[in-house]
């Protein structure tokens, strides 16, 4: 948005009222107060948009192919590896990264840490979109995507772990829509809605904690169904759910740190002083939380190995791979977080967050694909499967950016609230 940076303009549209006294129309709000030509010009100037267009140009036809000719036309149709990247990355990776909503909700609303308010809405939005796109990935992967509601209304199997995941993700998605809706109500000016949401915030937040605890854990417990397939170092039958839940804590917090850093660097025109002045302090606070969660996670992972007496596996090739994951994805970010927070090195904390985001995705891919069927062979996904995964992620990025450009997430609404 160099238009705004170059013109050194104040933040566009933070109010219902135009500078000349009239009210912004919806169209003007959507175009950020620019004319259509100006908007198109800024869109075409940005090289990121060209890259996105390229991803979509190849990805959308592949998606069409999937819906017209079946999953087998874009994947290796493996019966040994029924879950590929769409779930390995899209569901098992995106959901922990989206724990940010319930974590910051709890910090601010339950623990009363008002100093995190400037970044709370970013965390809520990050959570909402992450879950929403996890469902989008699911809709690509499900054999019969048109039956998505079946476990809710048509044929119920309440004793299955996936039943919990389905119900909790669905209800939590509604909770998150309600939480983020107050920003939307401010933007559209429907204050009744906002006041109602405000009145049930505590209830929503607590519901968020319950649902998150259970479905983050349930995603881990899903692998308990495959005790003979997942490598024992990545499957601790007794603690799998708590390993997944605990790692979701630093994953979610790290994702907010990364999102906050990107906003500060590339979306500064959209941020107000409250966000820009506080984001570094919030980053340090979140980094501290990450360090605590990481050390806890490291200890319970070791407890998992000890509990099942799996020390001997550590000496095998798989064990070395496990130790590599622990070193790069847990110990390294943990040390960087601790050092960065202690010496107030915000940049270092941001790098640590990026490493831990990638690390958690790596862990989920390990559990779901790489160390799955460890006694058989490694499945390398079809390039079309990889491309579709990237395409959905690009769509996530576009929607995320679209909302940040407009709704009062990074700035405070100046009109009536």
């Amino acid at each position: 948005m160099r238009t705004f940076i170059a013109n050194n303009q104040v933040i566009p549209i933070t109010n219902h009222l135009r500078p000349d006294g009239g009210r912004w129309t919806i169209r003007e709000k959507l175009l950020l107060g620019l004319s259509w030509d100006q908007y198109r010009a800024q869109f075409l100037r940005n090289p990121v948009n060209w890259a996105l267009c390229f991803v979509f140009a190849v990805g959308v036809p592949i998606l069409l192919q999937r819906y017209l000719f079946g999953l087998g036309s874009i994947t290796h149709a493996s019966n040994d590896y029924p879950w590929g990247l769409f779930l390995g990355f899209g569901l098992f990776g995106m959901v922990p990264l989206s724990a940010s909503g319930f974590l910051l909700g709890t910090t601010v609303e339950i623990f009363g840490r008002k100093d995190f308010v400037p970044i709370e809405r970013l965390a809520l939005l990050n959570g909402l979109l992450g879950y929403f796109f996890a469902v989008v990935y699911l809709e690509v992967d499900l054999g019969m995507p048109w039956r998505l509601y079946y476990p809710m209304f048509v044929s119920l199997g309440p004793a299955a772990v996936l039943f919990l995941v389905a119900w909790h993700v669905a209800t939590y998605l509604s909770v998150q829509i309600a939480e983020v809706s107050s920003a939307y109500f401010e933007w559209t000016g429907w204050l009744k809605g906002k006041r109602f949401v405000r009145s049930i915030t505590i209830g929503l937040t607590i519901a968020g904690i319950i649902l998150s605890t259970l479905h983050q854990g349930a995603l881990g417990a899903l692998f308990n169904y495959a005790p003979a397939k997942v490598h024992p170092l990545w499957l601790s039958a007794s603690f799998q759910w708590i390993h997944f839940f605990c790692s979701a804590i630093f994953a979610g917090l790290s994702m907010v740190i990364v999102a906050g850093a990107l906003c500060k660097r590339h979306l500064a025109w959209r941020c107000d002083r409250r966000f820009l002045d506080n984001v570094d302090q919030c980053t340090l606070g979140l980094g501290k939380g990450c360090a605590y969660a990481l050390i806890t996670y490291l200890v319970i992972k070791v407890v998992g190995v000890a509990h099942d007496n799996e020390w001997a596996y550590l000496l095998t090739g798989w064990g070395r791979y496990f130790l590599l994951e622990m070193a790069l994805a847990v110990v390294l970010p943990m040390c960087l977080f601790a050092y960065g927070v202690k010496h107030r090195r915000v940049g270092l904390v941001r790098w640590a967050a990026l490493i831990s985001v990638l690390g958690i995705v790596w862990n989920r891919l390990n559990t779901a694909m790489i160390c799955f069927n460890w006694q058989l062979y490694r499945e390398v996904p079809h390039w079309k499967e990889i491309w579709v995964t990237v395409t959905i992620f690009a769509l996530y990025f576009v929607v995320y950016r679209f909302i940040l450009y407009r709704l009062p997430i990074l700035y405070q609404w100046q009109g009536e609230k």
């Binding site: 999953l71 996936l162 904690i209």
Partner: protein, 309 residues
């Protein structure tokens, strides 16, 4: 004391309601915990020492289940040399059963192993399915209902024997494809499945599961040098309807001996047990945290109000 009675009734009602709400998971679990299989469930005992690898069972299954014609005819034995990703042939959407050859060092003749759905007593596919697409029938078959399946493929993750397969080739009518013990065409009429009937070697014996366990033990006892002293499937995954006798160690004949000796369901019970606890304890716990964290503000509010008065 009408009020007391009212209150009692109210409390009783409340308790019942909350019990019903929180314990909705429990019945399925308690039933499963004590479930030892249907008493008259049928099964098949496969004796590897009798199988000669003629593939008649594959052909019979293909015909009975109206599956597509195979690439190579059923009398082509070069399929035994096929390897995909270093693995021998497995079930897929075109075949519910497959025979593989195992050349075991030190043995004069190779062993042949037929694989198909083992029809577990407490099937992992069934317990992992969140739309109840699977049913274990009293006759012993594990059958599948394509009308409610959403295609999540968790059953394929859960099955320790890698049996269910998915019709990936179809966009509009995908479904799980797996052996159903010829349930609707034969088992309900008291007939053995097509593969058993087709076997010229009597390598497959159809009968009541409990009788087959006895028969298996008897064969081992009568000819201890000819068999490994184990019936694969008697306890594997909590017990299966299809069971195997082998003259060579089971892992050498391609069996996964790391399959647990208890139902796969047992591995998720711990987690399912914490669910009602989290649902009931978390609200109180976090509401408490909220009150603790905000007590200062509350106190200030109270002090301020008192000051004003």
């Amino acid at each position: 004391m009408p009020t007391l009675i009212d209150r009692r009734r109210f409390l009783r009602g409340g308790l019942l309601a909350s019990a019903a709400a929180t314990v909705s998971l429990a019945p399925a679990q308690t039933e499963a915990a004590s479930f030892e299989g249907y008493p008259n469930a049928m099964g098949v005992l496969v004796d590897l020492s009798r199988c000669v690898g003629c593939r008649s069972c594959e052909a019979a299954c293909n015909k009975e289940q109206q599956l597509p014609a195979p690439e190579k005819p059923f009398n082509d034995f070069s399929v035994f040399d096929e390897l995909h990703h270093g693995q021998k042939r497995r079930t897929d959407e075109t075949r519910y059963t497959v025979v593989n050859r195992y050349d075991i060092p030190g043995r004069e003749h190779p062993l042949f192993r037929k694989i198909q759905c083992n029809h577990c007593q407490e099937p992992a596919c069934l317990t992992s399915c969140f739309v109840n697409a699977y049913t274990k029938t009293p006759e012993g078959a594990v059958i599948y209902d394509p009308d409610v399946c959403v295609g999540c493929r968790t059953c394929m993750i859960a099955c320790p024997f890698l049996i269910p397969t998915f019709r990936y080739s179809s966009a509009f009518k995908p479904r799980i494809m797996k052996c159903v013990f010829c349930y609707d065409t034969r088992l309900t009429k008291g007939l053995p499945p097509a593969c058993v009937e087709a076997c010229p070697q009597e390598a497959l014996t159809f009968g009541r599961r409990s009788d087959l366990v006895t028969m298996g033990r008897q064969r081992i006892r009568e000819n201890p040098s000819a068999y490994v002293d184990h019936i694969y499937g008697e306890h594997e995954a909590g017990g299966t309807a299809w069971m195997y006798l082998s003259p060579a160690p089971f892992d050498q004949a391609g069996f996964d001996t790391s399959v647990p000796k208890e139902p796969i369901l047992n591995y998720v019970k711990d987690f399912l047990g914490i669910v009602p606890m989290v649902l009931t304890i978390w609200p109180a716990l976090f509401a408490g945290f909220h009150l603790l964290a905000h007590r200062k503000e509350k106190m200030q509010q109270v002090n301020k109000n008192e000051g004003e008065v």
